[in-house]
């Protein structure tokens, strides 16, 4: 059996689309996914989405317009991926010492959905490039396929950059702060964080506790970091990266992020396993800005009037 040309074009598209998915599959600061099973699931989905994207152009050329509508099917399938991710993370949420929070979970699930669209778009653009060039310079196969692959790589690089999360460090100033107790109340500056009744726990805070204050640079940032989900994400990220001195029977050692209600600054306290100031500042700065938390009041006239 000889390979027909459309099948070959689709094959190149699928491979490039799958590479796009693979390029976005990594164990990063989110600490997820981290097991081969999860890799397998996402790679399999990635190959399927790449295939859906790759067949679109050849299908239209073959006047098979019904086949092109299969792209609509992809949207349903990707929504399913988001649902799976969300459910998985929600199910393991109870087993986390410091929970991710629903806003963070939603953000992760959404980016998994988006990555499949990117695999699809990459495959689509690769097959489109090859098909178009094929009509103009049908004899120079070598150039055609090289430009197809180049278009794929370019798409991957551009899309990867454009969907990458904004980090908290880009919109706030983060400063180290000191912890002190007023009676049983743990304070960071003027912000009261938590009432600790047990001197043993107080001692843990005095010896290993660390604090940072987070100062928004503009009203948009102030509204964004006020979001409870965003604050939980900061606490989760800091404890995931620095480790934490806490077990289920010491709930008062859970990291806490509280807001200075007068000026909108945040204060974070944590009892990390590794009390390293620089690492903590870096961990907080690297926390992704959650899509569901982003507020832009300054886009409205009334908000600009009060600033």
């Amino acid at each position: 059996m000889r390979w027909s040309e459309p099948a070959f074009i689709i094959g190149v598209g699928v491979i490039m689309g799958s590479i796009a998915r693979l390029a976005m599959l990594k164990v990063d600061y989110r600490q997820y996914p981290s097991y081969p099973q999860a890799y397998t699931v996402h790679l399999a989905f990635g190959v399927i989405s790449a295939f859906l994207g790759a067949v679109a152009v050849p299908a239209v050329l073959a006047r098979d317009y019904t086949a092109a509508t299969f792209l609509a099917l992809a949207a349903t399938q990707f929504r399913e991926i988001r649902k799976i991710e969300r459910e998985t993370l929600q199910n393991v949420e109870e087993t986390e010492l410091v929970s991710r929070g629903s806003a963070y979970i939603e953000g992760i699930a959404r980016s998994f959905e988006a990555r499949n669209y990117l695999a699809m778009v990459t495959a689509l653009l690769v097959t489109l490039t090859i098909t178009v060039l094929n009509t103009f310079i049908p004899r120079q196969k070598w150039i055609i396929y090289t430009s197809g692959i180049a278009a794929g790589i370019l798409t991957i690089l551009l899309l990867r950059k454009s969907i990458s999360h904004k980090k908290l460090g880009s919109m706030v100033m983060i400063k180290p702060a000191e912890i002190h107790f007023e009676g049983p109340v743990l304070m960071v500056g003027q912000v009261s964080m938590i009432n600790v009744g047990d001197p043993l726990i107080q001692e843990k805070y005095r010896r290993y506790g660390m604090a940072v204050t987070i100062h928004p640079q503009d009203p948009n940032a102030k509204a964004t970091i006020a979001n409870l989900g965003q604050r939980q994400a900061i606490a989760h990220n800091a404890s995931a990266l620095l480790g934490i001195r806490k077990d289920v029977d010491t709930p008062l050692l859970t990291p806490i992020v509280r807001r200075n209600i007068d000026i909108g600054d945040l204060a974070l306290i944590i009892v990390p396993a590794e009390p390293d100031r620089e690492a903590l500042l870096q961990a907080v700065a690297d926390t992704p800005v959650l899509e569901g938390a982003v507020r832009k009041p300054m886009a409205a006239k009334s908000a600009r009037m009060v600033d």
Partner: protein, 63 residues
């Protein structure tokens, strides 16, 4: 999924007999030292946090 009461006073430990009473279980002890010991034991059993309301009145709350 386990169900438990959160953000409620799970227990009170005190050596001031006149200052507390009512709905939550109250544990009376002799002095501050015993209050802390009792509160710690309860905290690890209930997986709750110990908070100090006033000197000698400790409450346990699940978070």
């Amino acid at each position: 999924m386990s169900v438990s009461l959160k953000h409620q006073i799970a227990a009170v430990v005190t050596y001031h007999k006149n200052e507390v009473g009512g709905g939550a279980p109250v544990f009376y002890v002799a002095n501050q030292e015993e209050a802390l010991k009792m509160a710690r034991t309860l905290a690890s059993i209930l997986q709750a946090g110990v908070h100090e309301l006033s000197s000698g009145v400790l409450i346990l709350v699940k978070h």
